[in-house]
């Protein structure tokens, strides 16, 4: 049995777009076992993906805060992180696909180790290098975005596996979340004609929806009811939003 670890820590949208890669890997190795590393805040979203052996979450935000403020000694930090990563190392993955394009996860991928490492990994001096041409292409996408012909979904699937059958984006909504959503829509005001769901958060604060623009949008949608699907990045908007017409719901209810 082949084992693959996918590292996709920082972005909720990218996580959903990992679905076709999972299908492609199963096409490549029908008995493959796929594990996924995500930030703890994205674990509920990761649970919507089909065909994973396990979702391994970690509170990377807390880790960042602990490292930055030196609230723990480096030996304590090493011990905690090593303990967490020990099962990943012990699994002896055949392939690690790092879809998080930062230095930290590159070093994590190299630390866990596998014969086939893809995406950002650590070079001989610890600096980042990118393995796999499709993922290299993706790394530089911001430079040639206007010429780009590929969708993120395809880049992930090609980079993490290879060519294969078309596979649409899909998630599996758990029964309790489905029941919650149906109940929510049924119990709401009958005068509502149209619902708009918005993901207000972003992985990077500079890309996040500014509260003032959010407020302007709400003002324009004043006659409608909005339901806002948010991740942790939308806290600033929650604090500034007081309109009763807006409801904040986390993914999966």
């Amino acid at each position: 049995m082949k084992q693959v670890l996918i590292i996709n820590v920082t972005r909720m949208g990218d996580l959903i777009q990992t679905g076709p890669l999972l299908d492609r890997l199963r096409e490549e190795w029908p008995d493959v076992a796929i594990d996924l590393v995500v930030d703890r805040s994205f674990a509920p979203t990761a649970a919507l993906l089909s065909g994973l052996r396990q979702v391994i979450s970690y509170d990377f935000t807390r880790l960042l805060d602990d490292c930055r403020t030196q609230s723990k000694s480096l030996v304590t930090l090493m011990q905690e992180m090593t303990d967490w990563a020990a099962p990943l190392r012990a699994a002896k993955y055949d392939r690690i696909v790092n879809l998080t394009f930062n230095r930290q996860t590159g070093l994590l991928a190299s630390y866990i180790g596998a014969p086939d490492l893809r995406g950002i990994i650590a070079g001989p001096d610890g600096g980042p290098i990118v393995q796999n041409p499709w993922l290299s292409y993706f790394t530089d996408l911001h430079r040639h975005r206007r010429f780009n012909r590929f969708n993120l979904v395809d880049l992930y699937a090609m980079g993490g596996s290879g060519p294969g059958a078309f596979s649409p984006l899909s998630v599996t909504v758990p029964a309790d979340s489905r029941a919650w959503a149906e109940g929510f829509l049924r119990s709401s005001d009958k005068t509502v004609h149209q619902w708009i769901a918005i993901q207000a958060g972003a992985s990077d604060v500079m890309k996040a929806w500014r509260p003032e623009y959010f407020g302007q949008t709400m003002a324009r949608q004043h006659s409608r009811r909005l339901t806002v699907s948010s991740n942790g990045g939308a806290d600033h908007i929650k604090r500034s939003a007081h309109r009763p017409a807006v409801r904040f719901c986390h993914p999966g209810g």
Binding site: L74, M78, Q104, L108, S110, D125, G126
Partner: protein, 575 residues
């Protein structure tokens, strides 16, 4: 204590009309209390508050048997009450008892092992608040004496004002204690800030000053993000607004404020109380209670002080003596009470010189006002202190006469004493805890002032002796070094796993290497390449690894260190 049966059937207790344990279910209440206490492996728990020991039993039940628990017993009779009405279980064998004098209790606690985490069962501890305070102080002193580790401290100063020189003194003291201090100096923005004061429209002026302070708060955040410290220490008037402080707390920064202001006059603390992790104030009750009421979690008394490098005896030339000297002098701003009292000092048998600014309109005092009421710099101030026979030190007040609520002791008191200058000051309720009557002369009313000036002018030798005694007291107990040591040891005792561990030297290369030897042998070897007492964090260790260059080989441990260091250097979520 009065023993009363709780609704659930077991004994509970009351004292002075207050319940020590729940009137309904003391066991359940104690369990909830025990659950709320934090503990880190390797620490010794020191419990304040005896009562009927339900909370100690619950604590023992929550923790593994190896965790040392020391119960402070300031009064054995309380323990007798508990022994009479309760039956002990096995847990009692796990508890070490510390009783006797403050020193004996301190010794017993010290024997139990370090690091110490103090926890307080407040309803019972309140019965012996003074004893507990004395024991805690003794423990802090002990911790301070053992401190050898270097902290990285960012000091956030004001844009301008009286707390600006105090910021400098605090920084100098922290540096002399061996800490790595970075001054986030906002005094460089003073000119721009004062420029806004020229706006005639008060609405515009206030709005823009507020925006300016908010901008400086963001500047502070950006500076902190570039080099996160172990502790952010603000002095009064530091431009850090509540949302910034809340953000810092979310990001795990530790913050402290030394509020060197009269809390009755400047009330902006009400908006900031909940923002800082630690407050240090120059007043005691009701100031401390008011801050806690406003949301401050940890408030402690930390009086003003002097810096002996600045405030010191000077050898003055004859010319300087003539320029700065007089029989009686005062240096300070023209507050209402001083404007009312000082005219009485005119036309007497002594010479009187008045130094300082904000005396506009005090026409009666023009004949004694020096330099046309210009602001007096620190050097000049020291010369006046040294050259005057009797230095008046009347604390500011907006009313007439002396401040009837006068409690805190101002910086001038300590500075005059450090100069070895004789002073005559108004009576303050907190003065007896800082200076003895043999060290300075106090007056209780303006009427006493004339007689005491006349008397002490006649006794130059006694003046010199008294001033020398006051100086010795300052050097022994009241310098900024003493204050900063107290401040850090108090924070260290409250956070033994963080500031406390750094102060104890647990982050130094040799100490880290010892803890890493078993689990991370190659890391321990790298740590041993540093000087043994050098503090080593991810930054230093990662730099050491990177210095091997591209030809070096990275072990898995190296990769982990570099990964953690990459997280350490992340800043974009901070500002």
């Amino acid at each position: 204590m009065e023993i009363v049966q709780a609704r659930a059937g077991m004994p509970s207790a009351r004292a002075k009309g207050r319940w020590i344990h729940s009137a309904y279910d003391p066991i359940k209440e104690a369990q909830a209390w025990a659950e709320s206490q934090s503990y880190h492996e390797g620490e010794t728990l020191v419990v304040f508050g005896v009562g009927l020991l339900y909370h100690v039993e619950a604590l023992c039940a929550r923790l593994t048997r190896t965790v040392p628990v020391v119960l402070v017993v300031p009064d054995l009779s309380v323990l007798a009450d508990a022994a009479t009405v309760r039956t002990w279980g096995d847990w009692i064998d796990r508890v070490s008892w510390a009783w006797g004098t403050t020193e004996a209790i301190g010794e017993r606690i010290a024997e139990a092992g370090h690091p110490l985490r103090l926890i307080t069962y407040a309803p019972a501890a309140a019965l012996h608040a003074d004893s507990h305070q004395a024991i805690e102080t003794a423990m802090q002193r002990r911790a301070a004496a053992q401190a050898g580790g270097q902290l990285r401290i960012a000091v956030v100063g004001p844009i301008y004002g009286g707390s600006l020189p105090i910021t400098r003194y605090a920084i100098s003291a922290l540096e002399s204690l061996g800490h790595d201090v970075r001054w986030l100096d906002h005094s460089v923005h003073a000119t721009s800030y004062h420029q806004l004061e020229s706006l005639k429209n008060s609405q515009h002026r206030l709005a823009l000053q507020s925006k300016y302070a908010e901008m400086l708060s963001r500047v502070t955040m950006a500076q902190l993000a570039e080099d996160p410290p172990d502790l952010v220490l603000s002095l009064a008037q530091a431009p850090l607004i509540l949302p910034a402080l809340e953000h810092l707390r979310r990001k795990k920064f530790l913050t402290a404020m030394w509020f060197v202001e009269n809390y009755r006059h400047l009330t902006y603390w009400q908006q900031l109380a909940a923002g800082y992790d630690f407050w240090f104030v120059i007043q005691q009750e009701p100031c401390i209670a008011a801050l806690k009421q406003a949301g401050a979690k940890d408030v402690r008394y930390l009086p003003m002080a002097a810096d002996p490098a600045v405030h010191r005896p000077l050898e003055l030339t004859q010319t300087e003596r003539e320029e700065y000297g007089s029989d009686v002098s005062f240096v300070g701003a023209g507050y209402a009470n001083r404007r009312e009292i000082f005219p009485r000092l005119l036309c007497r048998d002594w010479t009187f010189k008045l130094w300082g600014n904000e005396w506009d309109g005090a026409t009666e005092l023009i004949s004694v006002l020096q330099r046309n009421g210009a602001r007096i710099d620190t050097d000049t101030c020291q010369k006046v202190f040294n050259a005057s026979a009797v230095n008046l030190n009347l604390h500011s007040w907006a009313g007439t006469g002396l401040d009837p609520e006068g409690d805190f002791v101002n910086p001038r008191t300590f500075e005059l004493a450090a100069c070895g200058a004789f002073q005559l000051t108004d009576r303050r309720t907190l003065m007896p805890g800082l200076f003895a009557e043999t060290e300075m002369v106090t007056v209780s009313s303006p009427d006493e002032l004339m007689g005491k000036i006349a008397r002490w002018l006649r006794e130059p030798e006694q003046r010199v002796a008294m001033a020398a005694q006051a100086r010795r007291r300052v050097l022994a107990e009241h310098t900024y070094v003493h204050r900063m040591r107290d401040l850090l040891s108090q924070i260290g005792v409250t956070s033994p796993d963080r500031i406390g561990s750094i102060l104890r030297g647990a982050r130094q290369a040799e100490a880290l290497a010892l803890t890493a030897t078993d689990s991370f042998p190659s890391l321990a070897a790298t740590l041993r390449t540093f000087p043994s007492t050098q503090r080593v964090e991810l930054k230093q260790l990662a730099a050491q690894i990177r210095s091997r260059g591209p030809m070096g080989t990275l072990s898995r441990e190296d990769l982990m260190v570099l990964m953690l260091d990459e997280y350490r250097s992340e800043t974009k979520d901070l500002v």
